[in-house]
Symmetry: C2
Subunit: 223 residues, 2 copies
């Protein structure tokens, strides 16, 4: 039997998601828990990136992961093997998480002793961009096979993220993807975004990403 819990999350009842998100961030600050919201299309490599991230930081922080999915448990089962605390959230068909739903997840995970919490959002470049989850920082993954024109087509997602990980750079030779063009499109929407090319599978670039996440987590839980 698997050791992680599966939580069926309910639709939120709050009138103002932005207010709920700010309240949740305040509570996370008091609890000294950093929350990262990780978003991407289906199949961009969120779970593989998470595995590499946990491997890089597990000796420094107590890590907890919330795997949001419409139905399955495959991601939580994968993350459980890393030794990190994990909970599977079932959204019941819903295409995003808002702050109220994220709060249910954090309570299910029990973040009392978690310093770095990571929410793997539903695989979707549209709806999750519209709802502040209460996370301290937003990160997204765009993978090389998806194409460098995605910032033109899903501008809100690229606008609200603090970091963009360009994943699967090992297959750059086989796809028509220009990192330069991608960066140009993204910076036009979001000049302050940090862009890090990685390959989660081989570990390339994960050190740079882990550095960024370490710095932000320390800043949040220590200041």
């Amino acid at each position: 039997m698997e050791g992680f819990r599966v939580l069926e999350i309910k639709k939120s009842v709050f009138e103002s998601n932005d207010r709920e998100a700010d309240k949740l961030r305040q509570e996370l600050k008091e609890n000294k828990t950093f929350l990262l919201n990780l978003m991407s299309s289906p199949g961009s490599g969120k779970t593989t990136t998470l595995k590499a991230t946990i491997a890089a930081l597990k000796d420094e922080f107590k890590i907890g992961v919330m795997e949001a999915d419409i139905d399955s448990d495959v991601d939580a089962a994968t993350i459980e093997k890393t030794g990190a605390k994990v909970i599977q959230l079932h959204t019941g068909g819903m295409c995003h998480l808002d702050a109220g739903m994220t709060r249910q997840g954090l309570q299910g995970l029990d973040t009392e002793d978690v310093e770095l919490a990571i929410l793997e959002n539903v695989g979707n470049l549209v709806c999750p961009a519209e709802f502040d989850t209460g996370a301290v920082k937003n990160a997204m993954i765009l993978s090389v096979p998806e194409g460098d024109d995605k910032p033109l087509k899903y501008p809100l997602m690229f606008s609200i993220c603090d970091v963009l990980l360009i994943n699967k750079i090992d297959v750059l030779p086989y796809f028509d993807f220009s990192i330069e063009n991608c960066e140009k499109y993204v910076k036009r929407l979001n000049p302050n975004i940090k862009i890090i090319p990685i390959c989660a599978r081989t570990g390339e670039g994960i050190d740079i990403w882990a550095d960024w996440l370490r710095t932000e987590t320390r800043k949040w839980i220590e200041e």
Copy 2:
């Protein structure tokens, strides 16, 4: 200046989308227009597949394409070069199209002389699956880099489609994707689905897909 029109579509006001969808299908039948709803994640190759599809069938049918996108016009500009009639639909941030929105698109496209109409839905595996657009058939693309486990994670989308195109099979050697596993997961959800491996870029498998689409279109407009 580009020759295609850009239409800002409005939120639908109908109470029952299913009823509106059935009504739209009836009108399409009377007008002898076949409508295909094409769905996938961002970056799975919908537009490239469309280009190959148009090339294969443009001498047999009058083809019209509706490119739904949140904001950009890049896909309509690409399709316009094929010589097919095309309209760009802007969904204004909305993550799917329902029957009322599809009707606005069809009116904007002017389907009077269109025999085969194709709707390229918003890149999203979640929300578009929940709304019947009024299309005669639903097709989806899953690309190899996304992984063979996607049917487990987005079951509704795989359940409501008549055809699944497995795209980008030219990069199978570089990814951990089993067509056999994928088919097994999909058939469990949807035993009657037709599965066609293709590579839209090289044209592999497009003849089989075009055969299917030709047969279905003829059946709808001639019977």
